[in-house]
């Protein structure tokens, strides 16, 4: 029944070539991370894996405190994600399902915060962190990121349609208070939205660079992105080692992304078309 037309075959071929070009940097990263620096700096370039991957990764961990950076990044990304999921979903549930004095004004105010550009706040934020004694501490990354307007806005849209009023009414009749209702009615229904926001927050926290670079200055606590940048500065001569570090830095994230990729991409698309 389904005979593939030549046009479709051509489209398919073009899409596959495009995808291969898109994925090529990942492939080449693995190639460089598994060769020696001398092999990388050869002409024509190497396009096949070498046998030095574990040796190079070992060098990375020996040269800088890469293990510490991986741990720090995990702590920041997990803590930020959990806090954002809790605070954002609680606020979104409230804005979506409760009418209280000032709720519309407050939600409008929340939307208005989108226009504040990050660099406008950066210097005073750094100064604040210095006053709180948090320069160089991971808390300087986690605390300001613990709740955000995007997540509340996005999840409220979802909650409005997903949480039936009858369920809230039933919970009220059962004598459940506000917080109990959030836990037993709101959270279970919001699960798909939480999955998306969770991956989104984790990815952003993992990849964040400018603010960690600024606020983790002169400290032993760095995140992976800052450590990578330092590794590149210190070991420019040893490119294979830099590439091995880079590989270590992106693999966990690629795995997290691939687990939820289809769901995640569907949500990105839906958000844009509705908004």
């Amino acid at each position: 029944m389904t005979r593939t037309s030549p046009g479709t075959l051509l489209t398919y071929g073009a899409l596959v070539v495009g995808a291969l070009i898109t994925l090529f940097p990942y492939y080449q990263l693995a190639v460089m991370a598994s060769n020696t620096t001398a092999d990388i700096y050869s002409s024509p370039p190497r396009f096949w894996f070498g046998g030095h991957l574990f040796e190079n990764i070992g060098e990375v961990f020996a040269k800088v405190d890469f293990f510490g950076s991986v741990l720090n990044t995990l702590v920041v990304a997990i803590a930020t994600t959990l806090l954002v999921l809790f605070f954002d979903s609680l606020a979104a549930f409230t804005f979506a399902k409760y009418d209280f004095p000032g709720s519309n004004v407050l939600f409008g105010l929340l939307l208005a915060t989108f226009v504040v550009p990050t660099q406008l706040a950066a210097i005073p934020q750094f100064d604040l962190m210095a006053k709180f004694g948090l320069v160089g501490s991971l808390n300087a990354l986690i605390i300001p990121a613990a709740a955000n307007a995007f997540g509340i806005f996005w999840m409220r849209q979802y909650a409005r349609g997903a949480i039936a009023d009858e369920l809230l009414e039933a919970a009220r009749v059962d004598g459940a208070g506000f917080f109990r209702t959030y836990l037993s009615v709101g959270l279970p229904v919001l699960r798909p939205a939480l999955a998306f926001l969770g991956i989104f927050t984790f990815v952003n926290a993992w990849n964040d660079y400018l603010w960690p670079l600024v606020v983790l200055i002169d400290s032993n606590h760095t995140t992976l992105q800052v450590a990578l940048s330092q590794l590149n500065g210190l070991y420019v001569q040893d490119y294979a080692v830099v590439m091995a570090g880079t590989l270590v830095a992106i693999v966990p994230l690629v795995i997290v992304f691939l687990i939820g990729a289809r769901h995640f991409i569907r949500n990105i698309a839906a958000g844009a078309v509705k908004g």
Binding site: L106, L120, I152, I268, A269
Partner: protein
Amino acid sequence: MTAVSANRRWRYLPQYLAIAPFFVLFAIFGVYPVVYSLWLSFQRWNGVSEMKFVGLENFRFLLTDTAFWDSIGNTLIIWVMSTIPMLVLSMLVALGLNSSVRHKGFLRVAYFLPNVTSIVAMSLVFGSFFSSEFGVLNWFLGLLGVDPVQWLTDPWAIRVAISLMIIWRWTGYNAIILLAGLQALPQDVYEAAKLDGAGPVQTFFRVTLPLLRPVLLFSVVMSAIGGLQIFTESQILLGDRGGPEGAGMTMVLYFYNTAFADNDFGYGAAIAWGIFVVVVLFSILNWRLVQRPARGNGGDR
């Protein structure tokens, strides 16, 4: 009476507490810093010694600071050089994925992956591609008979290099957005176009593109917001000074340099306000450019 009003007052306490965390954080890390940065922009301060009030001195300097104006120019050039090819490529990928090809799920993930991968990490990988002697890119150009390009030293090649990285990162993301837009289009107009004997190219330009306008607008606006914030690619690839002749010096990199490399917090705050003004003007311009033809089309019909 008092009992009732007190009751009423406390009735919504749980709701207020539930939304409080965001507003408290925003007051501390959003409102206060913005107000304070306005105050700072009238000072001379290195973060350590005493602040000195200098009036409009910082802004007067900003208006004549060629480095700042150059950074605006670089940012806009890179934005144009990356956004236009990126949108064309995204459109092609979206059209392809909207046809009856196989393995759509895999292709979608493959095209989207760059968007979630660390910019620092990929800037390091692309840095090796751009190496003039051993880079993959010049090797490939060599196969085509093109002379090696000095990707990281020639001012225009630098901007092309940064644009290539942005195109790589955002094509898949925008293809997914445009694909969702394509899938939401009503099918009856296509049948009508077919009955009228319109070919695929004609159908695309006369039917698809006009209908897709809101989604395209979303992509353009989002790429403008992101494009004006370009920082990491330049900083990793070229260093804090944006490379030879500062060709890769973007607005945010200039801000970072002044504030956090040179510790010139007062002038840094003034630059931040300058960037804010550019962003606002650019957004208005963007909005008007996209609005006007929309009205024209409506009139034709």
